[in-house]
């Protein structure tokens, strides 16, 4: 039979995929001149923007969520709708956030590639592939598509990390990322197969019905809503697989080395887009498919969140390299994002997910801002350590103030109100949901986190160091693309500071589908 495909619904990933192909063709047929680099960057940017346009158009269309790749009604169980690709608000929020972050990452890439030494066509192709995966993932509503989309996010990133050829650190980072990612995929696939074995379906909605006891499971009978042990193992394995992607403890150790070894735009990509994709998948699986089994995974997530934020913050305390510090701090921030998921005890844990998403959206803006400035500084210094930021405010006032703002935002203090409110959202869910201990752990962590953010911020304002015996390397020409990247990220962070309601409006979703 012929399946009807709603091309408007799948337009955002489709456009990105077409742009990816176009970039490869252009790279092959355009003469290899420096100008070509810029052209390819602009084509990529245009692709991302058009895709973003489709997302906005879908959001503006409103109404009922549109879906495609559905099981035809004649074959489906009438009790549940079974679609593989759904563009509801959850999808649109994640897709929109990913694409805006993608714009920043592409701009940063243009600056990174301006130096030469990295094959341009391949870079943009891989970048666009990642975006395709990241946009598809939140729309996926079956396990197979979820895994495929997640792999589409992960696989190109190894190659991107390794594209800085003849760089030992970079290759090491790529290998680490590859090994960790493959292991996590294997673990997750095992978990997925167990879940499929129990429920006999890959559709999340159907899984949800089975695990909440509404529909009889064909594989294993639920005894009074209790999962058999094999089901618990499946849940744990799936959670572990996603925990790798979001660098949650105990699967966090790859973060710092990979972030440091990878080119800065890839580090930004990992810390925002790849992480957002991981969270989207985690939320989908936990809330859409496994909400009936919350009793199994809520304690796991709570402990994971507490450990993640604590370990991330403690490791960040001792870092001297800017990128490593951001790496560990982003691990800690993952913990804050995870925390509200741990209070999603009931099936209508919509507000708690809203808090997670709100935090993620705000985090994306402020973290990208920080990475953009780090990118700028990395062009003029070799080691990119915290001491290189001494007096940045006087040398480059705009960049220095932007970084200061982003760091204070990440720390969650005024004037960085966005970060403060993000933390308040999370705290509110924790206090309301009765997870007082997690709130206390997070409170202490907020203070630990403040230490390294404050010390770094203070360095920005400290007077510049005496010119040492080693003359600074001659500043390479900074590409003009970095400044708009900083501008976009900081403008969004400032916007969220003044009107956090925007984030809440967008992320307040009643349910999926």
């Amino acid at each position: 039979m012929i399946q009807q495909i709603d091309y408007f619904v799948i337009a955002p990933p489709l456009v990105l995929a077409l742009a990816a192909g176009l970039v490869l063709l252009l790279d092959a047929f355009l003469p290899a001149r420096p100008r070509t680099r810029g052209v390819l960057g602009l084509v990529t940017l245009a692709g991302v923007l058009v895709s973003l346009g489709f997302v906005v158009a879908q959001a503006a269309g409103g109404g009922t969520p549109r879906s495609t790749f559905c099981v035809p009604p004649s074959l489906a169980d009438p009790a549940t709708v079974q679609c593989s690709f759904v563009a509801d608000r959850f999808t649109l929020v994640f897709a929109g956030m990913v694409l805006v972050a993608a714009v920043v990452v592409v701009l940063l890439s243009m600056a990174e590639l301006a130096g030469g030494g990295i094959p341009v066509g391949e870079w943009y192709f891989l970048l666009l592939c990642t975006f395709v995966g990241a946009v598809t993932l939140p729309a996926s509503r079956d396990l197979i598509m979820l895994v495929v989309a997640l792999e589409l996010v992960s696989l190109p990133v190894f190659a991107l990390t390794a594209l800085k050829r003849y760089d030992g650190r970079s290759s090491e980072a790529a290998v680490k990322l590859f090994v960790v990612s493959v292991v996590s995929t294997a673990v997750m696939l095992f978990g997925v197969s167990l879940l499929y074995g129990i429920a006999g379906t890959v559709f999340l909605s159907r899984l949800g019905a089975v695990f909440s006891g509404q529909v009889q499971a064909p594989g294993v009978a639920l005894v009074q809503g209790e999962l058999p042990a094999v089901g618990t193992v499946g849940v744990v394995l799936v959670v572990a697989g996603f925990a790798f992607k979001i660098a949650a403890v105990p699967f966090h150790s790859w973060a710092a080395d990979v972030y440091q070894g990878a080119p800065v735009p890839v580090a930004a990509l990992l810390s925002v887009i790849s992480k957002a994709a991981g969270f989207a998948g985690l939320i989908l699986v936990l809330v859409a498919a496994l909400s009936g089994q919350a009793a199994t995974w809520v304690p796991i997530i709570a402990v994971l969140a507490a450990l993640t934020m604590t370990a991330g913050n403690l490791l960040a305390l001792r870092q001297r390299s800017a990128v490593r510090l951001l790496a560990w701090s982003s691990v800690a921030q993952s913990g804050y994002i995870l925390a509200p998921l741990a209070v999603t005890v009931t099936a209508d844990g919509a507000t708690a997910i809203g808090a997670s998403m709100a935090y993620l959206v705000i985090y994306a803006a402020m973290n990208l801002g920080a990475f953009a400035v780090v990118m700028l500084v990395s062009k003029t210094t070799t080691r990119n350590e915290l001491d290189d930021y001494r007096g940045l405010v006087f040398r480059r006032p705009a960049a220095g103030l932007a970084l200061a703002f982003c760091l204070i935002c990440l720390a969650g203090l005024p004037p960085g109100l966005a970060g403060l409110f993000a933390k308040v959202f999370v705290f509110r869910e924790l206090v309301e949901g009765g997870s007082g201990w997690l709130a206390l752990v997070m409170a202490v962590n907020t203070v630990i986190g403040l230490y390294y953010y404050a010390v770094w911020t203070a360095r920005l304002f400290a007077s510049a160091p005496e010119p040492g015996p080693v003359p600074e390397p001659a500043p390479r020409r900074t590409s003009p693309a970095t400044l708009p990247a900083i501008g976009i990220a900081v403008a969004v962070a400032v916007l969220f500071s003044v009107a956090p309601q925007l984030v809440l409006d967008v992320t307040a979703l009643s349910a999926f589908g």
Binding site: V431, A439, L440, V444, L450
Partner: protein
């Protein structure tokens, strides 16, 4: 309604600070005037507020403005001012303005140096600080209160961390971590209240007097909020950030820290903790009172042991705040009135004391009391007199502002609220009274060391060092020769005597090393690099100046207000009494 007035109070400094950020170069030549004018306008608005306030209805929040801000959080931009917050708003505007007067008017050395090192950043920081301080006192929404409470952290961190003394980095980090820990715990308490009652409106919550919250919840929330406020206040076991922050902060930083920032904590007790959580307050009050009296006695004893003038004043704050907390702990109108009065009086007096300590440090390059040598009344009669005045005001001489608040707080402890155990509070009262005696003791000791006695300070530290360094030309042995001019060798017995690095001694690592080279272990063997001596020598020709014009301008209003509130306490009490009665409506 005149709701715009409150918005303007916040908007003027905020927009002023933003303008400074946007148009740095246009304003650079006029920075002094700029800061002065902006804080002056804010003060004028505050005066207008005081004038337009309806004193017949001091219990009711006036000039209210209530706009939705973040619907998703139930956060409203809700401002208002009543009898409790009005004096504090006025105090904040006044102290900030006086700080600008101190910084900008004169050509004082300290002012020069502060304004010389990054003047734009300094003005910016102070203006943002003012926004946070005033906003805290105006907010009538729990989360809005919290936001403003947090706004002050970053500016104060930079104020200490950039313009502070030698140990500024550690002090600033300690300050911000400590206070953030407190405020995060407070946030949890506030959110607990919110989760239980479903509203963030302080007015509505205070009117409900804890209805809708179980006793256990109230106790939990009171402890959480109380801990947060107590760090800021600071209450006894949580005070350890305070002495360092005060000692290292520049003069204006100390003044605002003691004068206003500490008040934000005590104000929180009066505005949030006591009225919203009456049962929690009743349960925790005995503990609060115990910690308060421990603070009083501990503060006094710590003061007796101090050598550094600034540090001593900082510890005296711990003691004074102990009286304020004791007043709150009694849960009676008398006690709370006393607490609020002591609050304002402490702001005025300690603000003045820190100004004076800054002036002393500015003149003698040290605040170490033994090396100041005494006899200030003879050498600098005016400065000595004002210091004496401020000290006896602070020790609570009847007739000055410091007296009434502490007397009322102790009086409240004599007859605490019915729910509280009276014998316990009688004990507190006795211990508090002893603490008051100790307070008098340390201030008198300080005065006898600094202002009285024969001026026996022939060699100021800078001078002595100069002699030491100047020595090598006749012979190398001069390094070890005691200064001939020192009659009793007193100058050599203090290890803390080394000259304090000037305030702007940036953190360029090479520079401090370049200025001060320790030759050996003995303090006398400090030598200065020649490049720096020239400047010191300029100062040596004449005796340190007595009070300068800008100092006089900055201090006179404080002196006048201390006298005014001392002689006419009813002025302030009539303002707070009705508000306090409303506030205690549920408890008593």
């Amino acid at each position: 309604m005149m709701g715009w007035l409150l918005v303007a109070l916040l908007a003027v400094p905020l927009l002023g600070a933003l303008l400074l950020l946007l148009a740095p170069h246009a304003l650079r030549p006029h920075l002094r005037a700029y800061g002065l004018v902006l804080s002056g306008v804010t003060l004028a608005l505050a005066v207008l507020l005081v004038a337009a306030f309806d004193y017949g209805q001091a219990a009711r929040p006036q000039f209210e403005i209530d706009l939705p801000w973040i619907a998703g959080l139930g956060l409203r931009f809700h401002l208002g001012v009543d009898g409790i917050s009005l004096p504090l708003v006025a105090l904040t505007a006044l102290l900030t303005f006086l700080c600008f007067v101190y910084l900008c008017w004169g050509r004082a050395r300290a002012g020069e140096q502060l304004m010389g090192a990054r003047p734009r950043a300094l003005v910016f920081t102070l203006l943002v600080l003012e926004v946070g301080m005033i906003g805290t006192f105006l907010a009538l929404d729990l989360l809005l209160f919290f936001v403003f409470f947090e706004v002050v952290l970053i500016p104060m961190y930079f104020l200490i961390g950039i313009w502070g003394g030698e140990g500024r980095r550690a002090a600033s980090v300690k300050f911000i971590l400590y206070t953030l820990l407190g405020s995060v715990v407070m946030l949890l308490g506030l959110l607990l209240v919110w989760a239980q009652t479903g509203t963030l409106d302080i007015e509505a919550l205070a009117a409900a007097h804890g209805a809708g919250m179980a006793r256990s919840v109230q106790i939990l929330a009171f402890v959480a909020i109380g801990v947060g406020l107590a760090v800021k206040t600071p209450m006894w076991p949580l005070h350890t950030w305070l002495p360092d922050a005060h000692t290292e902060a520049p003069t204006v930083g100390s003044v605002l820290l003691a004068g206003v920032l500490l008040k934000m904590g005590t104000y929180g007790f009066a505005r949030i903790a006591v009225p919203i959580l009456p049962e929690g307050a009743a349960a925790v009050a005995p503990w609060l009172g115990a910690l308060a009296v421990v603070g009083i006695v501990y503060g006094a004893l710590a003061c007796l042991a101090q050598r550094d003038l600034k540090r001593m004043i900082a510890y005296s704050s711990v003691g004074h705040i102990g009286f304020v907390l004791l007043g709150f702990a009694t849960l009676t109108p008398v006690g709370i009135n006393g607490a609020l009065f002591a609050n304002v009086a402490h702001g005025l007096i300690t603000g003045l004391l820190f100004f004076l300590a800054g002036a002393v440090k500015d003149r003698y390059h040290t605040a170490d009391m033994p090396s100041l040598g005494g006899g200030m009344l003879a050498t600098l009669p005016r400065l000595g007199s004002v210091l004496t005045f401020a000290s006896i005001a602070s020790l609570g001489l009847p007739g000055l502002a410091g007296f009434w608040g502490e007397m009322l707080a102790l009086f409240g402890a004599f007859q605490p609220a019915n729910v509280l155990p009276r014998p316990l509070f009688l004990t507190y009262m006795v211990i508090g009274g002893l603490g008051a005696v100790l307070t008098a003791a340390y201030f008198l000791v300080m005065l006898s060391r600094v202002t009285h006695g024969r001026p026996r300070r022939p060699a100021r530290p800078a001078e002595r060092v100069l002699q030491v360094v100047g020595g090598p030309s006749p012979g190398g042995g001069a390094l070890d020769t005691p200064d001939a001019g020192v009659p009793d060798g007193d100058a050599h017995d203090s290890p803390d005597e080394r000259p304090v690095a000037p305030l702007d001694a940036g953190d360029r690592p090479g520079e401090i090393g370049g200025r001060l080279v320790e030759v050996g272990d003995r303090p006398g063997e400090i030598r200065r690099q020649p490049g720096h001596i020239g400047r010191q020598r300029d100062d040596l020709g004449d005796q340190p100046e007595d009070i300068r014009t800008h100092e006089l301008l900055a201090w006179t209003p404080l002196v006048v207000l201390i006298l005014l509130f001392g002689l006419w306490p009813g002025l302030l009490l009539s303002l707070t009494t009705p508000a306090v009665q409303i506030l205690l409506g549920g408890a008593s």
